[in-house]
Symmetry: C2
Subunit: 526 residues, 2 copies
């Protein structure tokens, strides 16, 4: 039986506040620094490693963090979640995204069905559909093969699947498994749909309409936009569209779609990449086998998150170190810095995952909390970021914790030697250099050239960004966010903060406004 308590009621939190702080620049210097980096490392799934040598912790802080994890019952709460307790208390829903990739605990029966079996059934149906499309058994009306898949969705139905597609597109090219090119339409700005439609061959495109409720206004609007375009091209929209939705949605049984695949209310949008929401577009783009490898990587990492020993549980470790940085050290934000161009949109996905889950001021009982919760998340790939915002990270007045990601090998196996090193070596040399530069700094008589150091980071290192490694990476961050929500005693699975804007926007469109809202509406010519 778990109990839900605020962070500031925990004895270990008080201990953490009173514990001596690590002087990171000093700790990371010389041979001691080398020992730290070797020691503060934990294996992840798919050959990844989470290294926290450059975090502002030592054995004493880690001991207290282990007590915190235990006192906050983090693994017990995770167990309750995957065994089907109603963790999303606000919306009174189970939280079952881990079940889309594996079964960690007991069978979870809801709505009269075994949910693991239900998710697997959807994956199987998607795989069969995708295989038929690739084999030319499902074609356009002229009997020609589909070459492009276009996802229509927003938020969790867009950011995750898009980031994953971009992450694996070049890998798939190099491995001859890019079956169809994928594009994405998300924004209600009509230029988004127009722009995508101006560059795809609609006659050979399948559109995947993704909306759990079947009522997301942006998505339905873009669907109409696309249907218009198909009709104008003399095509039958129902032969070019599939739906991903819940079984109870108006889209589920419609003749408007070639096929419909299902998710349910137990999969939050931002956690839906491993459900049919990601499954349809990614199986069409890369083939079902690739999507299955991705799921296997996530499942393996999910398993690691059940580990009760903090030092063997990378997601839980990442989570509690993050809480220490935010609530005790008082650091702001978190920058996600993948040294991999393929991960260019991964930070945008993590931005939603983290900020929408834990950007809250009340606990799971609706009571205000007296401590900071989820940080702002932002990031761009290195080395690009080095030539952009790293200036502030190195010498600005705030300390921003950093999450690096790096791989020993590139995806496309093409490289060039310049000045005695490959591009891949230069890339890796840069991330190694940055970690040490941030942690250790450098003195200089000219204060403008001085680096204070003491800026903490961790790095996840992998062999290569494969589907499996990407699945593990995704799971790591999903579970990190979940654990942090547990520590802060939040409901990380609702998003009431998005409702007010929707209500007011409807009022504007109905011309039922007054005061400032009317003036803004006039200024914008609505």
């Amino acid at each position: 039986m778990v109990t839900w308590n605020n962070l500031d009621t925990l004895a270990s939190y008080k201990e953490l506040q009173e514990a001596g702080k690590v002087q990171l620049a000093e700790a990371m210097s010389g041979e001691n620094g080398a020992e730290r980096v070797k020691k503060y490392s934990v294996p992840m799934a798919e050959g990844l490693v989470y290294n926290y040598g450059a975090k502002q912790v030592d054995d004493n802080i880690l001991d207290i963090l282990a007590k915190l994890a235990e006192e906050a019952q983090l693994t017990e709460k995770y167990e309750a979640l995957y065994n089907g307790e109603m963790i999303n208390t606000g919306e009174k829903r189970l939280v079952l995204h881990q079940l889309t990739r594996g079964q960690l605990g007991e069978a979870v029966v809801a709505d009269g069905v075994d949910k693991r079996a239900f998710y697997v059934e959807q994956q199987t149906k998607i795989a069969e559909f995708a295989n038929k499309v690739h084999a030319g058994e499902i074609t356009n009306a002229a009997g020609e093969k589909f070459t492009t898949v276009v996802q229509i969705g927003i938020g969790g139905s867009d950011l995750g699947p898009r980031a994953i597609y971009i992450a694996l597109e070049n890998w798939a090219k190099a491995n001859n498994t890019l079956k169809m090119k994928a594009e994405f339409i998300s924004n209600v700005d009509p230029d988004d749909a127009s722009g995508v439609l101006s560059k795809v061959d609609v006659a050979h495109s399948i559109f995947v309409l993704v909306s759990k409720s079947g009522t997301t206004l942006e998505t339905l609007t873009n669907e109409s936009f696309v249907k218009d375009a198909l009709k104008k091209a003399g095509l039958d929209p129902s032969k070019h569209m599939i739906a991903v939705t819940s079984e109870t949605s108006p889209l589920a049984q419609s003749d408007d779609y070639l096929a419909a695949f299902f998710m349910d209310d137990y999969i939050g949008g931002r956690y839906s990449s491993t459900s049919a929401v990601g499954g349809a577009v990614l199986s069409l783009a890369f083939g079902p086998e690739v999507f299955a490898q991705f799921l296997a990587g996530a499942a393996e990492e999910d398993k690691l998150a059940t580990e009760k020993d903090l030092l063997k549980n990378p997601a839980m470790l990442d989570a509690v170190i993050g809480v220490y940085e935010r609530n005790v050290l008082g650091y702001l934000d978190t920058a996600v810095l993948p040294y991999s161009q393929a991960l260019s949109r991964f930070p945008a996905h993590l931005q939603q995952l983290d900020m929408e889950s834990n950007g809250k001021s009340v606990n799971r009982f609706g009571e205000p909390v007296n401590y900071q919760t989820g940080p702002v998340i932002f990031g761009e790939p290195g080395t690009n970021g080095q030539h952009s915002f790293y200036q502030l990270l190195h010498q600005g007045t705030d300390i921003v914790p950093l999450q690096f990601v790096g791989f020993k090998n590139n995806q496309m196996d093409q490289d060039v030697v310049i000045q005695g090193s490959t591009s891949q070596q230069k890339l890796c040399a840069n991330v190694a250099a940055q970690i040490v530069a941030f942690a250790c700094g450098k003195d200089d008589e000219n204060r403008n050239k001085k680096f204070e150091g003491g800026r903490p980071s961790s790095i996840i290192i992998g062999e290569k960004l494969t589907p499996g490694a990407l699945g593990a990476l995704l799971s790591h961050f999903e579970n990190k966010v979940m654990f942090q929500g547990f520590v802060w005693n939040l409901n990380s699975f609702d998003q009431e903060g998005v409702q007010l804007g929707k209500v007011l926007a409807k009022r504007v469109l109905a011309h039922e406004t007054d005061g400032a809202l009317k003036v803004y509406s006039d200024l914008l010519n609505i």
Copy 2:
């Protein structure tokens, strides 16, 4: 004669700290709110308007901010800058990016030439070159027209030109002035170049190599990568490449390039979009006339920034309100939220512009300052962001000031009516709704559904995102950042914080490491 003083030595800053705070939720309610929004508005260039009705200011705060602007001599410092004083004291350089688009003051002579004439000469040479390419007078060796332009650059040579290209690509399609498609290679990750090369037709591509010094390692590496690919395709690289560099760089007089166009040390990378750095790729992509319209918009907005009356100077107003939020109200970060898919990468450019300029802890004399300087900048387009990180902005434990941008019309003139409104109306209704939701909030018995409000924002509203409007937008933010640097007494034009990482990366590549750096190098297989 201007004098340079720290913010905390100014009498008006003390006054600002002691002044009564505005209760934004209350101020924005009812008819008072409507009056505020009507009143707190200032015209920008190209029909844009900067509206600060939802900022946490009133007439009293604005009076004190006007005193601050005067006491800090903001317009005098700007005047000194555009008249050619050495404002970048760290690197002992003039700061002349405004001269690439107009002449605000006296002729500036440096290196024995009139710099305005020099920049115009480069633009003219670029225009002639681009016109010849478009007319088929400059072709590939087979006499075929070039169809694609690929920019090779990083940081300021990438983010600004890329954001601008994306912002105008659909506009250009709709206006039949998309002459060539543009692509960008930036990251030293070899998958970046491989990925771009896998999708362009190299035989019909011109590559623009951009490096002021001619020594940027990432860019030279990617150049070699591209040259290899051209040779493998049986092509002569020198017939497919142009250079944008300084006259003194090794690239300037090389036979390796079809042509070379020049910038100089007085144009910082992040301020270089209006120089040859943006000029070459954008003139090739859209035609020189479009690039000229973009420059004209920037020039008109630059002129507005000379206005001494704070309430008529949108960039200065935006700057001092931002300082008030950061240093007096203690708010974190700034989110840039354009309700325009075309501006999808504009926040990434502003992130560099702002964070690299003002992310500093020492003043222009190298002395530590006792106040916060530049904030973290992040953002994504609306309405996408609403379905992602807005949860934290509405209900998180930190207040993040917001910068909205919206346009009354879309770029491609294609739209669809669903549920009684167009997509464009829905887009605009959403931004209006968000501003009011953030400012006013909403009470609710269920604390989880309660919105505190009091979250300040401003909005820039335009008719349509045209080249001129985009130029004005760019200039606005460049000048805002400049004015904030003046208030904080920083040198906003150097970036010493990027140096240490470069030095350490070289050491890694030379295998001259020890301690933690050696361990990280080993972990990454370098």
